[in-house]
């Protein structure tokens, strides 16, 4: 590294350190004294910011070798913990300031049992400001990857997330349900199924509920999804149900019927094609070949199927399909053909020519 580069890096490190300290000072003032965050930022000379995402120090690029806490005075970690504590407990401080503080310094409690307990309590407390609770939930989601202590507090975490299933705020409800669904939680699966079946107030809309149930192939949703695909008029829900049925071999017939049905939209038929390819590849190939050579069928769908055949089907068996190859060759050479179709045909030829 040249001397100039080194000096430049040192300047940037010092600048980042200053920014960090200024941010902490602003936050300390905001959560400690009940002043608005903007007022505190003005007082410390930092730029005036209106939105949570632009709190000083958060957006600024930090040189790679700056240690955590900005490499500033040794008490930075302690200050961060104190700010987080105040953000979680101070009811006088403005909600925006508390949320901003948690966003910036929340990492300081990721291995503190007491800190995590307070974080979960704030998240689950309907009496706390929604902005703060959303920030607490966001912090918990980060901790799921980074905190060993949170792993040991799974019972408390699941209990807190379950309280969000009845929260009036959609973002909290939906994110809480998603986190539980990824954990394959029994209670959220029962609630989602019950909502889909019309037996109780749904937590989230049908498409979202189906998506969440899809995280667990063992959830008891498959028979209901068949019904939804058959009868529902909710297009998003049908599309999602088709996507999730890619885990159910018994749905192969239903998916093939949808794929071949010209009255269905391209979106729905495409979803059926993807699901069928996963659950019954040979069945998919058979129908895909038939549609690919049908010039009366939807061009976008044909393009997708030709590309899929080139990618997934056995090249040796494709080479034997004279009709398909002739049709693809015609499309590839036709400058007047639908552009996506033409590109898919050319891609198919390239892959098939490569052989097995």
């Amino acid at each position: 590294m040249s001397d100039d580069d080194r000096k430049d890096m040192e300047r940037r490190i010092a600048g980042a350190r200053q920014q960090r300290l200024a941010t902490l000072s602003a936050l300390e003032g905001a959560v400690g004294g009940g002043k608005s965050l903007d007022d505190m930022l003005k007082k410390t000379g930092a730029a005036v910011l209106g939105k949570l995402d632009h709190v000083i120090g958060l957006d600024a690029p930090v040189p790679k070798n700056v240690p955590a806490g900005g490499g500033a005075a040794p008490d930075v970690a302690g200050r961060e913990r104190a700010i987080t504590e105040r953000a979680l407990t101070s009811s006088e401080a403005p909600a925006e300031a508390r949320a901003a503080a948690l966003r910036v310094t929340g990492h300081s409690i990721n291995e503190s049992e007491e800190g995590i307990d307070r974080l979960l309590a704030v998240m689950a407390d309907a009496g706390e400001p929604t902005q703060l609770r959303r920030e607490a939930l966001r912090t918990v989601r980060q901790f799921r990857f980074s905190s060993r202590t949170l792993r040991d507090k799974r019972p408390e975490l699941v209990a807190a997330l379950r309280t969000l299933l009845d929260d009036p705020d959609l973002e909290l409800r939906s994110t809480g349900a998603e986190m539980l669904a990824k954990e394959k939680d029994e209670e959220v699966q029962r609630r989602l199924l019950s909502g889909l079946a019309g037996e109780s107030e749904p937590i989230v809309d049908a498409a979202r509920a189906i998506q969440l149930l899809g995280y667990d192939v063992h959830a008891e949703h498959l028979p209901l999804l068949h019904e939804i695909v058959d009868r529902s008029e909710d297009v998003r829900a049908r599309e999602e149900a088709i996507r999730v049925l890619s885990s159910d071999p018994s749905a192969a017939g239903l998916l093939a019927d949808i794929l071949r049905d010209g009255r269905e939209s391209t979106v729905i038929r495409s979803a059926a094609a993807v699901a069928l390819q996963n659950v019954a590849p040979l069945e998919f190939e058979r129908h895909a070949r038939a549609i690919a050579v049908d010039e009366g069928d939807d061009a976008e769908l044909r393009a997708m199927l030709i590309a899929a055949l080139g990618r997934f089907a056995n090249p040796a068996s494709l080479l034997e399909d004279t009709e398909l190859n002739q049709r693809v060759e015609r499309i590839a050479g036709d400058e007047g053909a639908h552009s996506e179709l033409r590109e898919a045909a050319r891609g198919y030829q390239t892959r098939v020519a490569r052989g097995p």
């Binding site: 049992e113 019972p155 408390e156 699941v158 192939v217 008891e220 498959l222 885990s247 159910d248 018994s250």
Partner: protein
């Protein structure tokens, strides 16, 4: 209310409410314990068509009830299975509760309980057994780790073998969270109190793999298979001609301690067999529970990712057309909700060269070395039938030295007779006192040693005493004082002691207590 007889008819249409009411009505009696235990096998019609969550909740509620009504021995493998391999907090908690239904102690369960803490601590949740579907939050909350620690406290001194592992949970990297420390402290205090010399096990033992040389059905033998490369063959084409090991699994199993570990262990078993020189002599295979979804490419990828080296004698199969025949023919422990497995046990079968089931390993984790030992026994040639039963031969061996002693000369006239005969046979150079006396003493010692060893097993110490008296008579009368009658009497006592010692044991052997 459902009667015990009606419970046997529980099936897919039985509501959860009916099942819960039946379990709630259970009382401590042998009939109720048996009835509840009969609800546990995975393949019972009760679980057909039910989702995984329902299946889990029913099984857990039944297991937890054993704390109240008593844990019968047939249910013990289910409890240990859950503790050893379970990753569902509700079921593990229920198993720990069930253990407290043992009347007395269950020392063998201590290592299972501690292992269960490792399995479940990062998958735990707040749960309750106050009702089948308790309110949220429950009035009587608990956790799986909490129930395990309570079971360890209940075991008390019988859990002394796991004390070091539990102490490690108080500090350091393995430390349990603050909320669990009081329960851990309680368990440790209970274990350290009044340590017993011998742990108590009143719940019986988990039986070793039963050996049942059972033939598979004709339907199984003809079942059509497809392997990981798409090659098709019949069951008997692969599973006869050589001994084979076959495990069951499926690629969508969400419990890493079951199917994924089974396949990794199977790969290890193949290596073990090859290392012992049995490459080409024993086949290894895995068959999927999920033949419609587990296409050949999925079988191949799953195996390769777990160290499987596929070959002629190591293959994975699916049976898309004949899976039901295999499932019924082998009595597989699995059930389904539509096409998805809702619950299965660990199961591995050892088949002989005729394709008959020689051994099966179910529920608990099997050890590749132990399975390899069993396979080796199947490969060993059968011993030639002997004219004498083995036990009779062993008994006769103890009497031979006595007969030999009886034949040796012990008095002057005998010496004369023997020397004359020896002269006639040209053996006069061999048979004299300086040669025979050491031989006589050696035979006496050998006879007494053999008799003593046998007497320890048969508890016939009088045989040893008789022969010892006889030996004294032979030595005193024949070698020291030259009293022929005394030496004859000694020989008679020797022979009598040998015959007495060859009798069968006085009482049957007691099985070692665990």
């Amino acid at each position: 209310m459902t009667t015990l007889a009606e419970a046997r008819a529980f099936g897919p249409r039985t509501t959860e409410g009916e099942i819960a009411a039946f379990v709630d009505a259970a009382v401590p009696s042998e009939r109720w314990r048996t009835a509840l235990a009969e609800l546990l096998p995975e393949e019972t019609p009760l679980y057909a068509g039910r989702g995984t969550n329902q299946t889990k909740r029913i099984r857990g509620y039944v297991l937890a009830a054993f704390e109240r009504v008593g844990l019968p021995q047939p249910a013990l493998p289910y409890v240990l299975e859950e503790l050893e391999s379970g990753t569902e907090a509700y079921l593990v908690a229920a198993a720990a509760r069930a253990l407290r239904g043992c009347d007395g102690g269950a020392a063998q369960a201590a290592p299972f309980l501690v292992n269960a803490i490792d399995n479940i601590r990062y998958h735990d949740e707040i749960l309750s057994f106050e009702a089948y579907l308790p309110p949220s939050p429950p009035a009587s909350p608990t956790t799986a780790v909490g129930e395990i620690l309570a079971a360890l406290a209940w075991l008390g001194p019988d859990a002394a073998s796991v004390l070091p592992r539990l102490e490690a949970l108080q500090e350091g990297a393995a430390r349990l969270p603050n909320s669990m420390q009081p329960a851990l402290a309680t368990a440790l205090r209970a274990i350290r109190s009044c340590a017993r010399e011998e742990p108590v096990d009143c719940c019986g033992t988990v039986a070793p793999p039963p050996r049942r040389p059972a033939a598979v059905t004709l339907a199984v033998g003809r079942a059509r298979l497809e392997d990981q490369d798409g090659e098709r063959l019949r069951w008997n084409e692969y599973f006869t001609g050589k001994p084979s090991v076959v495990a069951f699994f499926y690629t969508r199993c969400s419990n890493p301690n079951k199917c994924s570990l089974t396949i990794s262990r199977l790969a290890g078993l193949r290596k073990e067999l090859d290392a012992r020189g049995f490459a080409g002599q024993v086949r290894v295979a895995a068959v999927t529970y999920d033949p419609q979804y587990d296409l050949p490419s999925r079988l191949r990828t799953f195996g390769l990712n777990r160290g499987v080296a596929f070959g002629d004698d190591f293959r994975f199969f699916r049976a898309p057309e004949d899976h039901d025949e295999i499932r019924a023919g082998l009595g597989l422990g699995v059930n389904y909700a539509s096409s998805i497995v809702n619950r299965h046990r660990i199961e591995l079968f050892l088949l002989d060269a005729e394709g008959r089931i020689a051994a099966e390993y179910t529920r608990l984790q099997w050890d590749p070395a132990a399975v390899a030992d069993e396979a080796e026994r199947l490969l060993a040639p059968a011993p030639a039938p002997s004219a004498w039963p083995l036990s009779t031969s062993r008994r006769a061996a103890g009497a031979l030295p006595a007969l030999g002693i009886a034949l040796l000369p012990k008095c002057p006239m005998c010496w004369a007779a023997y020397l004359t005969a020896a002269g006639a046979g040209g053996l006069q150079g061999v048979l004299d006192r300086t040669t025979v006396i050491p031989v006589l003493l050696m035979l006496l010692g050998l006879h007494l040693a053999l008799l003593y060893r046998r007497a320890r097993r048969t508890r016939r110490s009088e045989a040893v005493l008789l022969s010892a008296a006889g030996a004294a008579g032979v030595i005193a009368g024949g070698l020291l004082w030259e009293l022929p009658m005394m030496s004859y009497a000694g020989v008679a006592l020797l022979v009598g002691g040998a015959l007495l010692g060859s009798l069968p044991p006085r009482t049957p052997l007691l099985a070692a207590a665990r």
